[in-house]
Amino acid sequence: MKPLNLIALLLFLGGAAWALTRSDRSVREIQNTYYAAMAPFLKSGSAMETHARAFLEETQHSKALEAELEITREQLQGLYLMKSRFRALEIENEQLRDALHFKKTTRFAVCAARVNRRNPTTWWQTVEIDAGSKQGICSQLCVLSNKGLVGVIDRVDHGGDRSSVLLLTDEKCQVSARVENSPEVGILNGQRGGFDGVPMLRLRFLSANAACHPGQRVFTTGRGGTFQANILLGTIESVEKGALDSEALVRPVVDFANLGTVFVVLSSDS
């Protein structure tokens, strides 16, 4: 090997060793710098995508739009009627809850955000949303959809309006969970490359003779400091019993392939 090539190889290995020994904080700083440099491209790319979408929408036939509008108007009338009925039911429900001294449903202060895109990684399950520090978002905040838990904020772009959400289906997103109508609690997380492409979750560390059965719902316990209590996670598909503990396979309630609008929990009263 030529001496210059050997020096280059040694420098390369030295550089790799330097990178491998960075602390979490340094890595976050590097990532912030990287995404700050990327921000103009990402913004202009998103703007182009929006323009293209708007153009395609405009080219739709006007008659089809008129027919759609007519149907929507009819549906709106129906919805108004349903809304007034729901309001009456809501009041009745509230009164019944108070009468039975039910614990009040947890209320969250949330920030709505749109999912921009999935991050270009093969093994990691993350999405980018269009809300960031400007909306009061910081890392480790819980992210919900109208159905249940979506994940947790992993990274917030500094001074920007973008954040990265680590999805519940990723192995690194651990959630303290409980099984409804049972004393069983465990830790729920996904698995990289597991379950033949189906985004299933593993509920581990259940007791050895856990009385769980398929169809039971799984909720957050609220312990552990990241996720609020009583957020729906999914339903049990199967239970595997071991010598020391049991493990349940959970189907998530959220459709992670079609994430549109999500809500970041800024604070809660629980």
Partner: protein
């Protein structure tokens, strides 16, 4: 030569930007085109070992800056068994290994047989993904390999490989613009035949 090396570095950085807008093909087992890796592999076969190592460092460093996840912030008393993840910087070594693999076929490329390099780029992407997956499993301490994962890796490698002629074409154009020959032996043979 210097101008060409600098351009390959800029091309690699541009690939990072384009990669952000390349979606996964959900119908093909969530496979995707790994443009950054492809550009690096194609460039690696056209440059010397020193430039290749520089490209590997830059590529691996920025790839990890883009992908690495932060630490789990929950209470340690509840989350007693943390999920360990790959550390920042591992991609630098993987990029370096892939680069050396591509350099092994450099004599053939210099003779003008770029097809072999295109084929090897697909194999290198497959090996890269397999190595990454093996490290994930090793860190987890539990080996799981589903059919879907194998298909995802194979289709990602195939899709990426399909674009390699395009990248090689671009590199030939850049080399011409920089007055640099990336396959000098093929050029000499063409002149002889002429």
């Amino acid at each position: 030569m210097f101008r060409y090396s600098l351009t390959t570095l800029l091309l690699l950085l541009a690939a990072f930007v384009v990669q952000q807008f390349l979606p996964a093909f959900t119908g093909i087992h969530h496979s995707r085109i790994l443009l950054v890796q492809l550009v690096f592999l194609c460039c690696a076969v056209t440059v010397g070992p020193r430039t290749m190592l520089l490209l590997a460092f830059v590529g691996g460093f920025f790839w990890d800056a883009q992908c690495i996840l932060g630490p789990h912030g929950g209470d340690v008393e509840i989350y007693t068994q943390r999920v360990e993840s790959m550390h920042f910087g591992y991609s630098i070594l993987l990029f370096g290994a892939m680069g050396f693999l591509m350099q092994g076929l450099q004599p053939l490329f210099k003779q003008g047989k770029w097809h072999f390099s295109a084929l090897l780029s697909g194999i290198a992407v497959l090996l890269y993904l397999a190595a990454e997956y093996a490290i994930i499993n090793f860190i987890r301490g539990d080996f799981v390999l589903s059919r879907s994962t194998v298909l995802q890796m194979v289709f990602t490698a195939l899709l990426t490989m399909l674009f390699s002629p395009l990248i090689f074409g671009l590199l030939f154009l850049i080399a011409n613009a920089c007055d640099h020959s990336i396959n000098p032996e093929a050029g000499r043979r063409r002149q002889r035949d002429f």
